[in-house]
Protein backbone atom coordinates (compact mmCIF):
# COMPACT_ATOMS: atom_id res chain seq x y z
CA UNK A 1 0.00 0.00 0.00
CA UNK A 2 2.59 2.49 1.15
CA UNK A 3 4.87 1.59 -1.71
CA UNK A 4 2.20 2.10 -4.32
CA UNK A 5 1.33 5.37 -2.72
CA UNK A 6 4.88 6.62 -2.84
CA UNK A 7 5.19 5.67 -6.44
CA UNK A 8 2.12 7.75 -7.08
CA UNK A 9 3.84 10.87 -5.74
CA UNK A 10 2.42 11.19 -2.20
CA UNK A 11 3.54 10.01 1.16
CA UNK A 12 1.21 8.99 3.98
CA UNK A 13 1.65 10.51 7.42
CA UNK A 14 3.29 8.22 9.93
CA UNK A 15 1.75 7.77 13.38
CA UNK A 16 3.60 10.64 14.92
CA UNK A 17 2.71 12.91 12.00
CA UNK A 18 -0.96 12.04 12.40
CA UNK A 19 -0.65 12.91 16.09
CA UNK A 20 1.08 16.15 15.22
CA UNK A 21 -1.68 17.05 12.77
CA UNK A 22 -4.26 16.45 15.54
CA UNK A 23 -2.23 18.51 17.98
CA UNK A 24 -2.24 21.48 15.59
CA UNK A 25 -6.02 21.74 15.99
CA UNK A 26 -6.12 21.71 19.78
CA UNK A 27 -6.26 25.24 21.16
CA UNK A 28 -4.94 26.39 24.50
CA UNK A 29 -7.20 25.77 27.43
CA UNK A 30 -8.99 22.68 26.17
CA UNK A 31 -9.47 19.70 28.43
CA UNK A 32 -8.56 16.63 26.41
CA UNK A 33 -8.63 12.88 26.87
CA UNK A 34 -6.47 10.72 24.64
CA UNK A 35 -7.21 7.11 23.80
CA UNK A 36 -4.71 4.32 23.36
CA UNK A 37 -2.57 4.13 20.19
CA UNK A 38 -1.98 7.12 17.94
CA UNK A 39 -4.05 9.42 20.21
CA UNK A 40 -1.61 8.83 23.08
CA UNK A 41 1.13 10.39 20.94
CA UNK A 42 -0.79 13.66 20.68
CA UNK A 43 0.21 14.88 24.15
CA UNK A 44 3.87 15.11 23.24
CA UNK A 45 3.04 17.00 20.03
CA UNK A 46 1.46 19.97 21.79
CA UNK A 47 4.13 22.61 22.43
CA UNK A 48 4.73 23.01 26.14
CA UNK A 49 3.90 26.72 26.13
CA UNK A 50 0.41 25.95 24.86
CA UNK A 51 -1.50 24.96 28.00
CA UNK A 52 -3.76 22.02 27.22
CA UNK A 53 -5.13 20.00 30.13
CA UNK A 54 -4.83 16.30 29.44
CA UNK A 55 -7.17 14.17 31.49
CA UNK A 56 -6.80 10.46 32.00
CA UNK A 57 -9.68 8.11 32.96
CA UNK A 58 -7.78 6.77 35.94
CA UNK A 59 -8.09 10.12 37.67
CA UNK A 60 -5.15 12.18 36.49
CA UNK A 61 -5.94 15.75 35.46
CA UNK A 62 -3.18 17.70 33.77
CA UNK A 63 -0.65 15.01 33.01
CA UNK A 64 2.59 15.98 31.31
CA UNK A 65 5.15 14.22 29.12
CA UNK A 66 6.54 10.77 29.82
CA UNK A 67 9.32 10.82 32.43
CA UNK A 68 12.93 9.92 31.69
CA UNK A 69 13.55 6.19 32.10
CA UNK A 70 15.35 6.77 35.39
CA UNK A 71 12.62 9.03 36.76
CA UNK A 72 9.61 6.75 36.38
CA UNK A 73 7.11 6.95 39.22
CA UNK A 74 5.22 3.64 39.32
CA UNK A 75 2.20 5.25 41.01
CA UNK A 76 1.65 7.71 38.18
CA UNK A 77 0.30 6.18 34.98
CA UNK A 78 -2.11 7.17 32.25
CA UNK A 79 -5.10 5.17 31.04
CA UNK A 80 -2.80 3.20 28.73
CA UNK A 81 -0.87 2.20 31.87
CA UNK A 82 2.26 4.05 30.70
CA UNK A 83 4.23 6.24 33.10
CA UNK A 84 3.48 9.96 32.88
CA UNK A 85 4.24 13.07 34.88
CA UNK A 86 1.98 15.68 36.43
CA UNK A 87 2.06 19.30 35.34
CA UNK A 88 1.81 22.18 37.75
CA UNK A 89 -1.89 22.69 38.34
CA UNK A 90 -2.63 19.00 37.90
CA UNK A 91 -4.64 16.93 40.36
CA UNK A 92 -5.66 13.40 41.27
CA UNK A 93 -9.27 12.30 41.55
CA UNK A 94 -10.99 8.96 41.95
CA UNK A 95 -12.59 6.93 39.20
CA UNK A 96 -16.18 7.99 39.76
CA UNK A 97 -15.17 11.65 39.85
CA UNK A 98 -13.07 11.13 36.75
CA UNK A 99 -15.96 9.64 34.81
CA UNK A 100 -18.34 12.25 36.22
CA UNK A 101 -16.06 14.74 34.50
CA UNK A 102 -16.05 12.69 31.30
CA UNK A 103 -19.74 11.78 31.20
CA UNK A 104 -20.89 15.15 32.51
CA UNK A 105 -19.70 16.88 29.34
CA UNK A 106 -16.72 18.65 30.86
CA UNK A 107 -14.10 17.52 28.33
CA UNK A 108 -13.65 19.71 25.29
CA UNK A 109 -12.29 16.83 23.29
CA UNK A 110 -11.59 13.15 23.25
CA UNK A 111 -9.34 11.60 20.61
CA UNK A 112 -9.81 7.87 20.12
CA UNK A 113 -8.45 5.24 17.82
CA UNK A 114 -11.00 3.21 15.85
CA UNK A 115 -11.50 0.20 13.61
CA UNK A 116 -14.17 2.00 11.61
CA UNK A 117 -16.03 5.28 11.46
CA UNK A 118 -19.27 5.57 9.50
CA UNK A 119 -20.40 8.60 7.53
CA UNK A 120 -23.06 9.34 10.19
CA UNK A 121 -20.39 9.49 12.90
CA UNK A 122 -20.87 5.99 14.28
CA UNK A 123 -17.66 4.64 15.77
CA UNK A 124 -16.53 1.04 16.26
CA UNK A 125 -13.36 0.65 18.28
CA UNK A 126 -13.77 -1.99 20.96
CA UNK A 127 -14.70 -5.38 19.54
CA UNK A 128 -14.03 -7.00 16.18
CA UNK A 129 -17.17 -9.12 16.26
CA UNK A 130 -20.24 -9.74 18.31
CA UNK A 131 -18.66 -13.00 19.43
CA UNK A 132 -15.27 -11.49 20.23
CA UNK A 133 -13.57 -13.40 23.02
CA UNK A 134 -13.35 -11.20 26.07
CA UNK A 135 -13.78 -7.86 24.35
CA UNK A 136 -12.31 -4.99 26.32
CA UNK A 137 -14.35 -1.81 26.27
CA UNK A 138 -12.53 0.21 28.94
CA UNK A 139 -13.67 3.82 28.95
CA UNK A 140 -14.29 4.12 25.22
CA UNK A 141 -18.09 4.17 25.35
CA UNK A 142 -18.09 6.71 28.18
CA UNK A 143 -15.65 8.96 26.37
CA UNK A 144 -17.44 8.68 23.03
CA UNK A 145 -20.77 9.88 24.45
CA UNK A 146 -19.41 12.18 27.13
CA UNK A 147 -16.83 14.45 25.52
CA UNK A 148 -18.07 17.59 23.76
CA UNK A 149 -16.14 16.59 20.62
CA UNK A 150 -14.94 13.20 19.53
CA UNK A 151 -12.12 12.99 17.03
CA UNK A 152 -10.70 9.77 15.70
CA UNK A 153 -7.06 9.22 14.76
CA UNK A 154 -6.43 6.07 12.71
CA UNK A 155 -5.00 4.61 9.51
CA UNK A 156 -7.19 5.36 6.52
CA UNK A 157 -7.43 1.68 5.59
CA UNK A 158 -6.64 -1.68 7.13
CA UNK A 159 -3.33 -3.32 6.35
CA UNK A 160 -5.16 -5.25 3.66
CA UNK A 161 -6.38 -2.00 2.11
CA UNK A 162 -9.98 -2.23 3.27
CA UNK A 163 -11.46 1.21 3.96
CA UNK A 164 -12.05 2.23 7.58
CA UNK A 165 -14.25 5.19 6.63
CA UNK A 166 -17.42 3.35 5.79
CA UNK A 167 -21.09 3.76 5.03
CA UNK A 168 -22.05 1.63 7.97
CA UNK A 169 -19.84 0.08 10.62
CA UNK A 170 -19.49 -3.67 10.29
CA UNK A 171 -17.95 -4.04 13.76
CA UNK A 172 -19.93 -3.63 16.99
CA UNK A 173 -20.52 0.06 17.78
CA UNK A 174 -18.84 1.97 20.55
CA UNK A 175 -21.29 4.85 20.15
CA UNK A 176 -23.72 6.10 17.54
CA UNK A 177 -23.31 9.41 15.70
CA UNK A 178 -20.50 10.52 17.96
CA UNK A 179 -17.46 11.36 15.78
CA UNK A 180 -17.05 14.87 14.42
CA UNK A 181 -13.61 14.63 12.78
CA UNK A 182 -11.20 11.95 11.58
CA UNK A 183 -7.42 12.24 11.24
CA UNK A 184 -5.86 9.52 9.09
CA UNK A 185 -2.49 8.92 7.51
CA UNK A 186 -3.94 10.39 4.32
CA UNK A 187 -6.35 13.16 5.23
CA UNK A 188 -8.38 15.10 7.74
CA UNK A 189 -12.09 14.54 7.26
CA UNK A 190 -15.09 16.10 8.96
CA UNK A 191 -18.26 14.20 9.70
CA UNK A 192 -21.11 16.49 8.64
CA UNK A 193 -24.88 16.04 8.38
CA UNK A 194 -24.20 15.39 4.66
CA UNK A 195 -21.50 12.80 5.35
CA UNK A 196 -17.71 12.93 5.09
CA UNK A 197 -16.13 16.21 3.99
CA UNK A 198 -12.38 16.46 3.28
CA UNK A 199 -10.60 19.19 5.25
CA UNK A 200 -7.13 18.51 3.90
CA UNK A 201 -5.07 15.73 2.33
CA UNK A 202 -1.37 14.85 2.32
CA UNK A 203 0.59 16.63 -0.41
CA UNK A 204 0.26 15.11 -3.85
CA UNK A 205 -2.73 12.90 -3.05
CA UNK A 206 -5.68 13.39 -5.39
CA UNK A 207 -9.27 13.54 -4.22
CA UNK A 208 -10.07 10.63 -6.54
CA UNK A 209 -7.30 8.50 -5.04
CA UNK A 210 -8.55 9.29 -1.53
CA UNK A 211 -12.12 8.44 -2.53
CA UNK A 212 -10.89 5.14 -3.93
CA UNK A 213 -9.60 4.22 -0.46
CA UNK A 214 -12.81 5.35 1.27
CA UNK A 215 -16.06 3.38 1.21
CA UNK A 216 -18.49 6.21 1.79
CA UNK A 217 -18.67 9.17 -0.57
CA UNK A 218 -16.44 12.15 0.22
CA UNK A 219 -17.28 15.79 -0.38
CA UNK A 220 -14.68 18.36 -1.12
CA UNK A 221 -13.80 21.73 0.46
Amino acid sequence: MVQTATEQGWKPRNRSQIASRVARDIPEGWVVNLGIGIPTLVADQVPEEREVIFQSENGVIGFGPAPAADAVNPWLINAGKQPVTLRKGGAYIHHADSFAMIRGGHLDLCVLGAFEVAENGDIANWAVSATDTAPAVGGAMDLAVGARRLWVAMEHTTREGRPRLVKRCSYPLTAAAAVSRIYTNLAVIDVTPEGFRVVDMVDGLSFEALQAMTEAPLRQG
Binding site: E51, I53, Q55
Partner: protein, 228 residues
Protein backbone atom coordinates in the same frame (compact mmCIF):
# COMPACT_ATOMS: atom_id res chain seq x y z
CA UNK B 1 -1.60 30.56 29.31
CA UNK B 2 -4.85 29.52 30.93
CA UNK B 3 -5.91 32.29 33.25
CA UNK B 4 -9.44 32.27 34.64
CA UNK B 5 -8.90 35.22 36.95
CA UNK B 6 -11.24 38.14 36.43
CA UNK B 7 -10.40 41.37 38.22
CA UNK B 8 -13.84 42.73 38.97
CA UNK B 9 -16.95 40.99 40.23
CA UNK B 10 -18.97 43.06 37.74
CA UNK B 11 -16.98 41.70 34.80
CA UNK B 12 -17.35 38.14 36.01
CA UNK B 13 -21.14 38.50 36.11
CA UNK B 14 -21.69 40.75 33.11
CA UNK B 15 -23.30 38.11 30.91
CA UNK B 16 -25.73 36.53 33.38
CA UNK B 17 -29.05 36.68 31.49
CA UNK B 18 -32.57 37.30 32.72
CA UNK B 19 -34.36 34.03 33.41
CA UNK B 20 -31.18 32.19 34.33
CA UNK B 21 -31.08 29.36 36.86
CA UNK B 22 -28.51 30.37 39.48
CA UNK B 23 -26.88 27.88 41.83
CA UNK B 24 -25.75 29.48 45.08
CA UNK B 25 -23.24 27.55 47.14
CA UNK B 26 -23.20 27.68 50.90
CA UNK B 27 -25.05 26.30 53.86
CA UNK B 28 -26.62 29.27 55.57
CA UNK B 29 -23.93 31.95 55.47
CA UNK B 30 -21.00 29.52 55.51
CA UNK B 31 -19.44 29.01 52.11
CA UNK B 32 -21.81 31.45 50.45
CA UNK B 33 -20.30 33.61 47.71
CA UNK B 34 -21.35 36.92 49.28
CA UNK B 35 -19.44 39.18 46.92
CA UNK B 36 -20.83 37.43 43.86
CA UNK B 37 -24.39 37.61 45.19
CA UNK B 38 -23.93 41.34 45.83
CA UNK B 39 -22.56 41.58 42.31
CA UNK B 40 -25.64 39.84 40.96
CA UNK B 41 -27.85 42.32 42.84
CA UNK B 42 -25.95 45.15 41.16
CA UNK B 43 -25.95 43.44 37.78
CA UNK B 44 -29.69 43.48 37.42
CA UNK B 45 -30.62 40.08 35.96
CA UNK B 46 -34.18 39.22 36.89
CA UNK B 47 -36.82 36.50 36.61
CA UNK B 48 -34.24 34.16 38.10
CA UNK B 49 -34.54 30.66 39.46
CA UNK B 50 -32.31 30.27 42.51
CA UNK B 51 -31.10 26.93 43.83
CA UNK B 52 -29.66 27.10 47.33
CA UNK B 53 -30.02 25.18 50.55
CA UNK B 54 -31.64 28.12 52.33
CA UNK B 55 -33.79 31.04 51.22
CA UNK B 56 -31.74 33.88 52.66
CA UNK B 57 -31.96 35.72 55.94
CA UNK B 58 -31.95 39.32 57.03
CA UNK B 59 -32.12 41.94 54.31
CA UNK B 60 -28.81 41.39 52.51
CA UNK B 61 -27.45 38.90 49.99
CA UNK B 62 -30.02 36.41 48.75
CA UNK B 63 -32.73 37.98 50.92
CA UNK B 64 -32.09 41.31 49.23
CA UNK B 65 -32.24 39.70 45.77
CA UNK B 66 -35.60 38.21 46.75
CA UNK B 67 -36.84 41.48 48.19
CA UNK B 68 -36.04 43.22 44.91
CA UNK B 69 -38.41 40.83 43.15
CA UNK B 70 -35.70 39.36 40.99
CA UNK B 71 -36.37 35.72 41.80
CA UNK B 72 -39.28 33.92 40.25
CA UNK B 73 -38.62 30.53 41.81
CA UNK B 74 -36.64 29.12 44.73
CA UNK B 75 -35.45 25.52 44.82
CA UNK B 76 -34.20 24.69 48.30
CA UNK B 77 -34.37 22.28 51.19
CA UNK B 78 -34.77 24.60 54.13
CA UNK B 79 -36.41 27.96 53.40
CA UNK B 80 -37.36 28.63 57.00
CA UNK B 81 -34.44 29.92 59.05
CA UNK B 82 -34.11 32.56 61.73
CA UNK B 83 -34.44 35.79 59.80
CA UNK B 84 -35.91 34.30 56.61
CA UNK B 85 -38.87 36.68 56.77
CA UNK B 86 -38.31 38.20 53.32
CA UNK B 87 -38.81 34.86 51.64
CA UNK B 88 -41.72 33.89 53.88
CA UNK B 89 -43.59 37.13 53.13
CA UNK B 90 -43.10 36.73 49.38
CA UNK B 91 -44.19 33.13 49.55
CA UNK B 92 -47.33 33.85 51.56
CA UNK B 93 -48.15 36.64 49.15
CA UNK B 94 -47.86 34.19 46.25
CA UNK B 95 -45.09 36.25 44.71
CA UNK B 96 -42.52 33.48 44.52
CA UNK B 97 -42.62 29.81 43.57
CA UNK B 98 -41.07 27.25 45.88
CA UNK B 99 -39.79 23.77 45.14
CA UNK B 100 -38.85 21.98 48.33
CA UNK B 101 -36.24 19.28 47.80
CA UNK B 102 -34.81 17.05 50.52
CA UNK B 103 -31.26 18.16 51.16
CA UNK B 104 -29.68 14.89 50.08
CA UNK B 105 -31.80 14.74 46.96
CA UNK B 106 -30.81 18.33 46.20
CA UNK B 107 -27.11 17.50 46.52
CA UNK B 108 -27.49 14.31 44.48
CA UNK B 109 -29.52 16.02 41.73
CA UNK B 110 -26.77 18.62 41.38
CA UNK B 111 -24.08 15.97 41.37
CA UNK B 112 -26.07 14.04 38.75
CA UNK B 113 -26.24 17.12 36.54
CA UNK B 114 -22.50 17.51 36.77
CA UNK B 115 -21.87 13.80 36.19
CA UNK B 116 -24.04 13.25 33.11
CA UNK B 117 -26.69 11.24 34.97
CA UNK B 118 -30.06 12.50 33.72
CA UNK B 119 -32.09 10.78 36.45
CA UNK B 120 -31.70 8.37 39.35
CA UNK B 121 -33.79 6.55 41.90
CA UNK B 122 -33.79 7.31 45.62
CA UNK B 123 -35.71 6.05 48.66
CA UNK B 124 -35.82 9.57 50.13
CA UNK B 125 -39.31 11.02 50.15
CA UNK B 126 -41.23 7.85 49.29
CA UNK B 127 -44.71 7.98 50.80
CA UNK B 128 -44.48 11.69 51.62
CA UNK B 129 -45.98 14.87 50.21
CA UNK B 130 -42.74 15.46 48.30
CA UNK B 131 -43.39 12.31 46.26
CA UNK B 132 -46.45 13.89 44.65
CA UNK B 133 -46.24 13.80 40.87
CA UNK B 134 -43.09 11.69 40.95
CA UNK B 135 -42.63 8.27 39.43
CA UNK B 136 -42.42 5.51 42.02
CA UNK B 137 -40.69 2.31 41.06
CA UNK B 138 -40.00 -0.85 42.94
CA UNK B 139 -36.46 -2.14 42.63
CA UNK B 140 -35.54 -5.37 44.40
CA UNK B 141 -38.69 -5.11 46.48
CA UNK B 142 -38.34 -1.57 47.77
CA UNK B 143 -40.06 1.55 46.41
CA UNK B 144 -38.01 4.46 45.10
CA UNK B 145 -38.69 7.87 43.58
CA UNK B 146 -37.27 8.94 40.25
CA UNK B 147 -35.39 12.23 40.59
CA UNK B 148 -33.95 14.25 37.75
CA UNK B 149 -30.64 16.05 37.36
CA UNK B 150 -30.70 19.71 38.37
CA UNK B 151 -28.61 21.85 36.02
CA UNK B 152 -27.73 25.48 36.57
CA UNK B 153 -26.97 28.14 34.00
CA UNK B 154 -24.65 29.88 36.43
CA UNK B 155 -23.07 28.63 39.64
CA UNK B 156 -21.79 31.19 42.14
CA UNK B 157 -19.48 29.52 44.59
CA UNK B 158 -16.97 30.36 47.28
CA UNK B 159 -13.56 28.76 47.51
CA UNK B 160 -10.71 29.33 49.92
CA UNK B 161 -7.62 28.97 47.73
CA UNK B 162 -7.62 29.15 43.94
CA UNK B 163 -5.03 29.09 41.17
CA UNK B 164 -5.24 30.50 37.66
CA UNK B 165 -6.52 27.19 36.26
CA UNK B 166 -9.51 27.52 38.59
CA UNK B 167 -8.51 24.71 40.91
CA UNK B 168 -10.11 25.21 44.30
CA UNK B 169 -9.85 24.18 47.90
CA UNK B 170 -12.38 25.11 50.56
CA UNK B 171 -12.21 25.94 54.22
CA UNK B 172 -13.71 23.48 56.69
CA UNK B 173 -17.50 23.25 56.51
CA UNK B 174 -17.62 26.00 53.86
CA UNK B 175 -17.08 23.22 51.32
CA UNK B 176 -20.72 22.02 51.51
CA UNK B 177 -22.67 22.52 48.25
CA UNK B 178 -19.90 24.38 46.42
CA UNK B 179 -18.16 21.42 44.71
CA UNK B 180 -21.35 19.88 43.31
CA UNK B 181 -22.66 23.24 42.18
CA UNK B 182 -19.35 23.91 40.43
CA UNK B 183 -19.95 20.70 38.47
CA UNK B 184 -23.61 21.43 37.74
CA UNK B 185 -23.20 24.98 36.45
CA UNK B 186 -22.87 25.66 32.72
CA UNK B 187 -20.94 28.78 33.75
CA UNK B 188 -19.20 28.48 37.11
CA UNK B 189 -17.86 31.58 38.81
CA UNK B 190 -15.91 31.30 42.04
CA UNK B 191 -14.81 33.90 44.52
CA UNK B 192 -11.74 32.90 46.46
CA UNK B 193 -10.08 34.24 49.56
CA UNK B 194 -6.58 33.49 48.29
CA UNK B 195 -5.09 33.26 44.83
CA UNK B 196 -1.98 31.11 44.76
CA UNK B 197 0.59 30.31 42.10
CA UNK B 198 -0.09 27.37 39.82
CA UNK B 199 1.43 24.31 41.46
CA UNK B 200 1.03 25.58 45.01
CA UNK B 201 -2.11 23.58 45.65
CA UNK B 202 -1.44 19.99 46.65
CA UNK B 203 -2.59 17.82 43.71
CA UNK B 204 -3.86 15.25 46.23
CA UNK B 205 -6.01 17.85 47.97
CA UNK B 206 -7.60 19.92 45.20
CA UNK B 207 -11.31 19.52 45.83
CA UNK B 208 -12.77 21.19 42.75
CA UNK B 209 -10.82 20.81 39.54
CA UNK B 210 -10.37 23.92 37.46
CA UNK B 211 -12.04 21.91 34.70
CA UNK B 212 -15.33 22.79 36.40
CA UNK B 213 -14.53 26.47 36.97
CA UNK B 214 -14.80 29.23 34.34
CA UNK B 215 -13.96 32.40 36.24
CA UNK B 216 -12.19 33.24 39.48
CA UNK B 217 -12.51 36.51 41.36
CA UNK B 218 -10.16 37.28 44.20
CA UNK B 219 -12.20 38.44 47.18
CA UNK B 220 -9.83 38.50 50.12
CA UNK B 221 -11.16 37.82 53.56
CA UNK B 222 -10.87 41.43 54.75
CA UNK B 223 -13.14 42.61 51.93
CA UNK B 224 -15.70 39.93 52.64
CA UNK B 225 -15.69 40.71 56.34
CA UNK B 226 -16.14 44.40 55.63
CA UNK B 227 -19.06 43.63 53.35
CA UNK B 228 -20.71 41.35 55.89
Amino acid sequence: MIDKRVRMVADALADVPDGACILLGGFGAVGQADALIDGLIEQGATNLTVVANNAGSGRTGLARLLELGRVRRMICSFPRSPGSSVFEELYRAGRIELEIVPQGTLAERLRAAGAGVPAFYTPTGVGTLLAEGKEVREIDGRPYLLEKALHGDVALIEGWRADRWGNLTYRESARNFNPVMAMAGKLTIAQAQHIVELGELDPEAIVTSGVFVDRIVHVPYATAAAAA
